[in-house]
Symmetry: C2
DNA sequence: TCAAAAGTGTTCTCCCTACACCCATGG
DNA sequence: CCATGGGTGTAGGGAGAACACTTTTGA
């Protein structure tokens, strides 16, 4: 049972995938962490992930682990960096291919493996296992850069959202504040939004228009080559 | 001699690094390729690269291979994607961590291993080994995105260059044409250039001012958060 | 004297920015 | 009636885009 049946002429590192999963709660960016049930780093929080199967691509592996450990479906998934420090895992040399995933946060959480999964706001991250703090830093940087070229923000929002929600998301990702009126003007002018006939009462004060993301228009604009600046 | 001494409980993929090396010849972007001397794909062209040692990070491995196979020193090196298709190498499962390197093209070529190395303009790339055509496509895309945030172009030029050279480089990378006057105005206004007292005769027609990249100013501006748009 | 390359300035337009008022509602 | 949040318009400034003339030199 402890046999080692896979032999090579030269040493091979192990390869895993890890998923940094972002969700937006309406106010802040959150990441989904899983409490490790086994050593090393038992009891610490870590990103969902695991060993890559020999017959799957890294992205397939990342999606599989995401599904197995959190039961979430990602709106968006993208490889962003591979971490290869020889000592990043105490067991053996493990290289991890890290993915960034965006999900609509209201979808349920909780994985098949009964592992404890929990959302943490970005400014209240507990101590993480392995080099996952480094991975998180790289992931947030990457997300920040991404949003300049691609309207990834919409993957973090529900299908229907208010301008205020959209603005708070952009502010959370970029760490800046926008003028309410200018933000609305720019967004509406971009034609990426479809104004719906529906409204909601986000506060007890006054109803607000709902919008949805116009993917058709986005694909059309992307074809022509455009950038949404912030 | 054919023994397999490195054994694991679970199968492990092999891991390599590959370097897509860009150089600029004054007119066009070029990439450095090496002719493979062994099977598989013997005789085809490929990026320099090789197996990762167990005690080095991927970036160290990439730099080592770069040095061994081409004897070049990169001005800039950055990991951009990891390729993991299970069938991308016919020998065994090999995952490759790919790097983008920028060098000043006039530095000599030719590696230690006596392998044939040669610059190819981007529009005259021969048939490549493995999935290296895919890797090249990803690399050029990445370079194009990078240049929006970072003045990486300067790493591709000699220390002293003319505005015309700089413009041709940007045009080559982005695949667009700029108005000569507007390009000069924007570049000079950015304060990233230092005008030197020297001039050259790039053509037999008239002398041109030489410039150098003002790295101090760049770091200063980056601190304050700025973007050079194109 | 002509062709080719380098240097330079102006105008127009558009977008981003700063900023203020009105409306609807619940307490 | 007032506090809160949502919706909308305008004036000013700055940067990019379009565009032309002059100078230098070799042929």
């Amino acid at each position: 049972m402890d046999e080692k049946n896979y032999c090579y002429k030269y040493p091979h590192p192990a390869v895993t995938t890890d998923c940094v999963i972002f969700g937006f709660d309406g106010m802040r960016l959150n990441v989904l962490l899983i409490e490790r049930g086994i050593e090393p780093y038992k009891g610490r929080w870590a990103f969902p992930g695991g060993f890559l199967n020999m017959d799957e691509t890294a992205e397939e592996g990342a999606r599989r682990e995401l599904k197995e450990e959190t039961n979430l479906t990602a709106e968006y998934i993208e490889q962003f960096h591979t971490f290869s420090d020889p000592d990043r895992d105490p067991r053996e040399r493990i290289i991890t291919i890290a993915y960034l995933a965006l999900v609509k946060l209201q979808t349920v959480e909780g994985g098949d493996d009964a592992a404890k999964a929990q959302w943490f706001p970005l400014d209240k991250i507990p101590q993480l296992a392995f080099d996952h703090d480094l991975i998180l830093r790289k992931a947030t940087e990457h997300l920040r850069e991404r949003i300049h070229f691609q309207p990834v923000g919409f993957d973090l929002l529900p299908e229907k959202f208010t301008l205020k929600q959209l603005q708070m998301l952009y502010e959370a990702i970029l760490g800046v504040r926008f003028d309410r009126r200018n933000f609305a003007k720019k967004m509406l002018h971009s034609e990426l939004l479809t104004q719906l006939d529906e409204t909601v009462w986000p506060t007890p004060k006054r109803e607000a228009n709902l919008f949805s993301f116009n993917k058709t228009k986005y694909d059309e604009l992307k074809q022509k080559g455009f950038r949404l600046e912030f």
